[in-house]
Symmetry: C2
Subunit: 139 residues, 2 copies
DNA sequence: GTACAATCTCTAGCCACTAGAGATACAAGA
DNA sequence: TCTTGTATCTCTAGTGGCTAGAGATTGTAC
């Protein structure tokens, strides 16, 4: 019945104490209760909620998307169409980012391998960065 | 000899006017000169410099890295070892990001395809987000 | 000369935290 | 019970890289 202190919750979910308090300040999650002295006490449901939040953040969801997902998961009898929609849009975004990053990787690789370890005046790194047309991929 | 106004430079480099002034405020680039009335005037070298900056930002370099790259390109007789090093570290980071993003993509794809378009209580999106163990990739 | 667009400086806001100051509460050992 | 030391409290400000807006001034085309 004692529940978790913020420190224990922090450890259990690998989330900084400050971040937990930040989530509280923006209304994402509040502690189950407080001690007489004012220390936060969390229960297992709080822990689940925070795990949900952290996991969604790791998957790249914005706080706003998470807020919506949380309200969906709080009302499990509603249609999941909305949740599916949010995840789909997230997937789209991730795929866009992947595309861009692959182009960057290619360019950086080329820059590094072509650098002859000589003087900056011959250095492809500087050269490519000075002139977009030298890129072989669009980004 | 008239040079570019900030608006022309903005158009030419696809950079917002505010962003150009921001770069000036952090010491990345200053205008060639000013009009009597105080309007900024840029020359072709300023344009090159801004193109360099924007290109590097697109490639994911931090402002600090760019600051260093700029000082290297301002002194082309120095060794490019340092520039190569910066680019290599950037490549490492990009590859880390790629790895993570690919895992996320996989997870999101699975979440979306497995969503049966029914009720939230059966929804994989919510389920996966509630329980990390349901993920098939580490991220 | 006048209208209107462009630019000026300055301040504040965005996201998602993160860090620190200074005060208070709690847990373990003497 | 008292003390010591760690954990927590609130509050404010900073991070990076911009972006937006207010209100004043300048530049330009007719």
């Amino acid at each position: 019945m004692a529940g978790f202190t913020i420190g224990k919750l922090s450890e259990a979910t690998d989330t900084k104490v400050q971040t937990i308090r930040y989530y509280e300040s923006i209304g994402l999650m509040a502690p189950f209760t407080r001690t007489e002295g004012g220390h936060r006490l969390y229960d297992i449901d709080d822990r689940k909620r925070l795990t949900f939040i952290r996991h969604a953040r790791e998957l790249g969801f914005s706080i706003d998307a998470i807020r919506e997902l949380l309200s969906l998961s709080d009302n499990p009898q509603t249609s999941c169409e909305r949740a599916d929609d949010i995840a789909s849009r997230q997937l789209d975004e991730v795929e866009q980012r992947l595309k861009r990053l692959r182009a960057l990787q290619k360019e950086l690789k080329r820059m590094v391998t072509e650098c002859g370890h000589g003087r900056v005046s011959d250095c492809r790194v500087i050269e490519v960065l000075s002139d977009h047309r030298l890129c072989q991929t669009s980004h």
